[in-house]
């Protein structure tokens, strides 16, 4: 049919006419879609700032350092939530980064080739569990376990440290941090694993030829070669950790103060928005929550840009740091 059309001058003329419209049309449509993506990100920033405006004008930059969240006196500050976000994310990465490196070492250097793919897939699947389900598990399984077993053990051995003081609590900074560890580990692993796989075989073989053990090879060849990728991956994990709202809101307890003990309940910026935005009165509390959103958005953007710059500096341009779903395959 197509060949016939080309043979027939009338049809061919019509076809050329359609093509003259078709190409620019496709270009225009797809360009429009790309422009839409740009518009969306700008609109998000604009709208969140717009909603936060009453709180921004009322509290100014002092909002960041105000350690108070009082709907009755209408005095709102971000300090307890910035603290909660920082503490939970930092602990999560403290666990997740070494875990991810260890898992990547296992998957790229140790695992028999037959189990490599299935195990990598299982680790990736951890990232597919919806956060609300992880939160449910956190409330009903992990929380009680923390309260009954982990926290008493920490208290009896390391109780002299202020961070392990106070009564055990199922809802706590520590429980939230562990949930975030579970969420960020597969994300960091998928990137570090990919970076490890780009280490040239000759370098590894060179180290082995010089008599290195496997660990010495990893420490002196794989890790230095992958340093930028590991840092970038960890920062991307940080982005995920600071932005997680639901699972953290479920397990952190919602206290609106700063507490040194990790057993204490608290809140993070994202969790506070998730917990209160829907029911908050519009005059000042909702704008204050949106103000938390502005701070969170600024953090998220910085984290993403920094992660990308680091990886590009490390001249690993062929490794994509965005763990898009396809790369998790």
């Amino acid at each position: 049919m197509e060949a016939g059309a080309l043979g027939n001058p009338v049809l061919r003329a019509r076809r050329n006419r359609i093509d003259r419209i078709g190409d620019p049309l496709l270009r225009g449509l797809s360009g429009l879609a790309a422009a839409l993506a740009v518009v969306v990100i700008v609109a998000i920033a604009y709208e969140v700032i717009h909603l936060a405006w009453p709180a921004i004008t009322k509290f100014g930059i002092g909002f960041l350092t105000t350690n108070d969240w009082n709907p009755v006196t209408e005095r709102f500050g971000a300090a307890p939530f910035i603290y909660g976000t920082a503490v939970t994310s930092a602990i999560a990465l403290l666990f997740a980064a070494p875990l991810s490196i260890a898992i990547s070492i296992y998957l790229t250097e140790l695992a028999p080739s037959r189990v490599r793919r299935p195990v990598a897939t299982l680790v990736d699947m951890l990232a597919a569990i919806p956060s609300v389900i992880l939160g449910l598990w956190g409330i009903l399984v992990l929380g009680p376990f923390m309260h009954d077993t982990i926290q008493p053990a920490l208290k009896s051995t390391l109780g002299f440290l202020p961070i392990f003081s106070g009564d055990p609590s199922a809802f706590s900074y520590l429980t939230a941090a562990l949930i975030l560890t579970i969420m960020t580990t597969p994300i960091i692993t998928s990137v570090t694993r990919e970076v490890f796989e780009t280490v040239p075989g000759e370098l590894k073989e060179g180290a082995y030829a010089l008599g290195a053990t496997r660990w010495e090879m990893v420490r002196q060849v794989v890790l230095p070669y992958s340093r930028a990728g590991i840092v970038g991956a960890t920062i991307l994990g940080l982005g995920r950790a600071i932005g997680e709202a639901i699972a953290v809101a479920q397990v952190i307890g919602g206290a609106t103060g700063i507490n040194v003990s990790l057993f204490h309940t608290g809140s993070t910026m994202a969790a506070q928005i998730a917990a209160q935005f829907q029911g908050a009165p519009g005059a000042l509390q909702k704008p204050s929550l949106a103000y938390l959103g502005v701070i969170l958005l600024v953090f998220a953007v910085i984290v993403n840009v920094v992660a990308r710059l680091i990886v590009q500096r490390g001249s690993l341009k062929d490794v994509d740091v965005t763990p898009t779903e396809a790369e998790a395959l």
Partner: protein, 295 residues
């Protein structure tokens, strides 16, 4: 890069072979334990959901709408229907737009425009979903009311970068020789795209779409803000707020009642089964599609 040092350091180390082997063994064992730990956590979470949810799962649970607040005799039929509608509309919005963005960056844009767009997509991917919720709240709910369509818009924004980035990757995998063959025959660009490029990449494109759906099916944060206060019974009108499975799990998990928790586990079982099956299917398509493109 310190690739020159290792040999030097190793030669100095040589004296203590026993210690070196012990350290090596220790690292190997802890790497294996770390991996086992990750797999164990997956199995424990999925196992908890299955063991605690399966008991409450019944035809009644799947076909009856929720009861009033605190009444746990109902089921989640309205949430299943609601999630279907919200996610379905979101997919209808995000998949075509995401695909077009990918076509623009791979087929038309010069690197000078293409790179910034990729960057914007990565930024969009990095926006916390709760922020997307605030955005859609300000855009559609403030001064109006909650609705299923607001939920769909929020989920579509979350899907967009996922669909676009995976599609970009798949489209760049299509062998250039195929396209060049079409161009050499005088076939116009848009025809080549529709007849050659897209069919070749179909499996991979489907993968991206399925993964994006799996990703947002469990998304809760934006729905809490824009679609969480809904009426009784099975509602299907997207202009009204609709029930959804993730919001049901969230609200039940916050309840003190053990019956509500059991219902949350049962709903979680349905959601996790849906998400994991979608993931497995998507992976299968992806593997097949890569093979087809010789990648």
């Amino acid at each position: 890069m310190s690739s020159g040092d290792p040999g030097h350091a190793l030669l100095l180390d040589r004296g203590n072979l026993k210690r070196r082997n012990r350290v090596n063994r220790l690292v190997e064992v802890s790497s294996t334990i770390a991996t086992l730990l990750a797999v164990a956590v997956l199995l424990i979470v999925v196992g908890s959901v299955i063991s605690k949810g399966i008991g409450a799962l019944s035809i009644h649970f799947l076909t009856t709408p929720m009861g009033l607040f605190g009444d746990t005799s109902g089921g989640i039929s309205n949430a299943i229907v609601g999630t279907g509608i919200i996610v379905g509309i979101a997919a209808l919005m995000a998949i075509p737009v995401g695909l077009l963005v990918a076509i623009f960056t791979t087929e038309f844009a010069s690197p000078r425009i293409g790179h910034p767009i990729r960057f914007v997509l990565d930024l969009l991917n990095g926006v916390p979903t709760i922020i997307t919720g605030i955005f859609v709240y300000g855009l559609m709910v403030a001064g109006n009311k909650q609705s299923g369509i607001a939920g769909s818009v929020a989920l579509a924004i979350i899907m967009l970068p996922i669909v676009a980035r995976t599609a970009q990757e798949v489209l760049t995998l299509v062998p250039g020789t195929l396209k060049e063959a079409a161009y050499a025959l005088g076939v116009a660009r848009w025809r080549t795209l529709l007849r050659v490029t897209l069919p070749t990449a179909a499996g991979g494109l489907l993968t991206g779409a399925l993964l994006a759906v799996a990703r947002v099916a469990g998304e809760t944060a934006p729905l809490i803000l824009v679609c969480s206060i809904f009426g009784q019974g099975v509602l299907t009108e997207p202009n009204e707020a609709l029930a959804s499975i993730p919001v049901f799990i969230f609200q039940s998990s916050e309840s003190p009642s053990p019956e509500a928790h059991t219902q949350a586990w049962a709903a979680a079982l349905i959601l996790i089964a849906f998400v994991l099956v979608l993931n497995v299917v998507a992976r299968a398509f992806y593997a097949r599609s890569r093979k087809r493109m010789g990648a």
